[in-house]
């Protein structure tokens, strides 16, 4: 039943690197993106259309209506 199995099995270094180190790091990086975005919104505020451009459009509409 166990024929063919290695006598001294080992975990592939690729698997160790990924599961042991990279995955927790990637999870933290994802959390960083979420927190970074929240921080950006709170510190910079929303990016709204400027009043200047809204007024330009309104002026154009009034001129067209004349």
């Amino acid at each position: 039943m166990y024929a063919g199995l290695p006598e001294d099995p080992s975990i592939s270094p690729l698997v160790s690197l990924w599961k042991g180190f990279a995955k927790p790091l990637a999870t933290l990086a994802l959390a960083g993106v979420v927190l970074g975005s929240l921080f950006h919104y709170v510190t910079k505020g929303p990016n709204e259309v400027s009043k200047e451009i809204e007024d330009e459009i309104e002026r154009e509409d009034k001129e067209e209506a004349k």
């Binding site: 990924w18 979420v34 950006h40 919104y41 910079k44 990016n47 259309v49 400027s50």
Partner: protein, 206 residues
């Protein structure tokens, strides 16, 4: 929402439907994929009827997303070619991020950041599709080293993709007046003039 008959059409219904099929399949893939990614997210499998169903459904959802993204890619690739103005926009992206976007180079339908996002996602989805086949062991039997490599590439690319999509969604929320383009298909003229002046000139002739 006040809708003006002079609002500009940005997306056809078929384009929006295509986008949302990709979006919904991505959300389902991210939720099930995160459950396989790290034990902290394992309870997410319950959203799919348990871990077995999550594992069964995930690759089929991947096929749905792959095909629907391919359709989106064919629709929009000609609008996402990088131009010198896009490269200049990207080199000055910090001004945009700082909320000071008034002197940014004039942009067409998409800005340099959106185009970079488009190509980055296209590369990610290609990597996800190929590596996903290597680890879809219910239907494919690749050599073990290839399965291991596939698992690493799939998970690493998946993490990058989740981050990219989060930035994509955040940018749409941050730039007010953007999300309605994908709900209703239209944007205000002021929005277009401020953020995509080249496209505004093209569609209005002004």
């Amino acid at each position: 929402m006040i809708r003006d008959p002079k609002d500009l059409k940005r997306y056809e219904p078929a384009e929006r439907a295509n986008h949302w099929v990709v979006g919904i399949s991505f959300i389902l893939l991210a939720l099930s994929g995160l459950a396989f990614f790290h034990p902290a997210f394992y309870p997410l499998t319950q959203l799919f009827g348990g871990p077995v169903w999550a594992r069964i459904l995930h690759p089929f959802l991947g096929v749905l997303m792959g095909i629907s993204f391919l359709a989106l890619f064919v629709r929009f690739k000609h609008l996402n070619k990088m131009t010198p103005a896009d490269k200049e926009w990207l080199s000055r992206a910090k001004e945009m991020v700082d909320g000071d976007d008034h002197d940014m180079p004039e942009q067409g339908k998409y800005n340099g950041g959106q185009k970079a996002m488009f190509w980055a996602l296209a590369i990610c989805i290609l990597l996800m599709a190929v590596s996903g086949l290597f680890i879809w062991r219910a239907y494919f039997a690749f050599d073990i080293p290839l399965v291991r490599l596939g698992a690493v590439v799939h998970a690493a690319t998946g993490a990058v993709m989740i981050a990219l999509i989060f930035v994509h969604v955040y940018a749409a929320i941050w730039v007010k007046g953007t999300i309605r383009a994908m709900w209703y298909g239209t944007v205000t003229r002021a929005w277009a003039k401020q953020h995509h002046r080249g496209w505004y000139r093209q569609v209005t002739g002004k």
